[in-house]
Symmetry: C2
Subunit: 150 residues, 2 copies
Amino acid sequence: MPNNQEYFKSVLKQRGLKVTNQRAAILEVLSSRPGKHMTAEEIYDCVKKTYPDIGLATVYRTIQLLSELGLIDKLNLDDGYVRYEIGVKKSEEVCHRHHHLICLDCGKIYAFQDDLLENLEKRIAETLGFEVVDHEVKLYGHCKKCLGHK
Amino acid sequence: MPNNQEYFKSVLKQRGLKVTNQRAAILEVLSSRPGKHMTAEEIYDCVKKTYPDIGLATVYRTIQLLSELGLIDKLNLDDGYVRYEIGVKKSEEVCHRHHHLICLDCGKIYAFQDDLLENLEKRIAETLGFEVVDHEVKLYGHCKKCLGHK
DNA sequence: TTGGGTGCAAAGGCTTTGCATGTGA
DNA sequence: TCACATGCAAAGCCTTTGCACCCAA
């Protein structure tokens, strides 16, 4: 994913931060697995294959940085792990975060986009005076595959 | 909230579990604060006023139990604490969980009900074959009060 | 050269668990 | 009576932090 790497480098330089092999390797791991939600430990294990000397602390520090830069998205499934996936934002415009379908049977996570919430947010702004700037939607249920197995 | 307490007792007995003072006290704390989202520590501090000998472990064990029984709802704001609030379910029918508006400025949490998601869920079932049974929606932004302060 | 970055180990902080004692039914 | 519940303290577990060394710019 050279696009991501180039953009990544420019953002870092812009902030006076350094482009290190570790940071590039971590971004590469996530970039090469779009839609995959990885824990810090999983990222650590993957990066170690190409960069054996990396430390877990660096992984934590880097995913926090990448998250702040908006390059990766955070997902919390309340199972004790915070997961990360490569961001889908392609422009500088406001990009509504995609939502997640979580299968209660197999644990698989599906993503979907929907603009339905825009109406809701508009209504909330009108009635409650609350200005929504971000949202997180998680739908739990049973996926097609697991329903078929019954 | 005698209604909650009665229902609570019947559910426990039904499962062969005991109605202890500690459990009743914890439920009472949450019942008397509808819409308030409390951490385990906050519940612990409140319960200690009426039941000084209670242990923090009991609070954790009880909120887990109450959550499994569907009497209280869990809310995770990703700040390191899991919060709980008294459930709003009043009947045995499927009751869609209410949603939360979280102010990024003052941290206050507002609740709202909306049936908008039903359309979305129906569409997801039709197009993806995914059967939604529960959902969690969090909207982040700026509340009326904080917007006024600017 | 040099200030940010990294690795390692230790510390943090919320939550769970083991075990002996207590108690509701 | 007796299985379930509680309190205390210790352990678990994910994540963060301190510090000396390293390295991209």
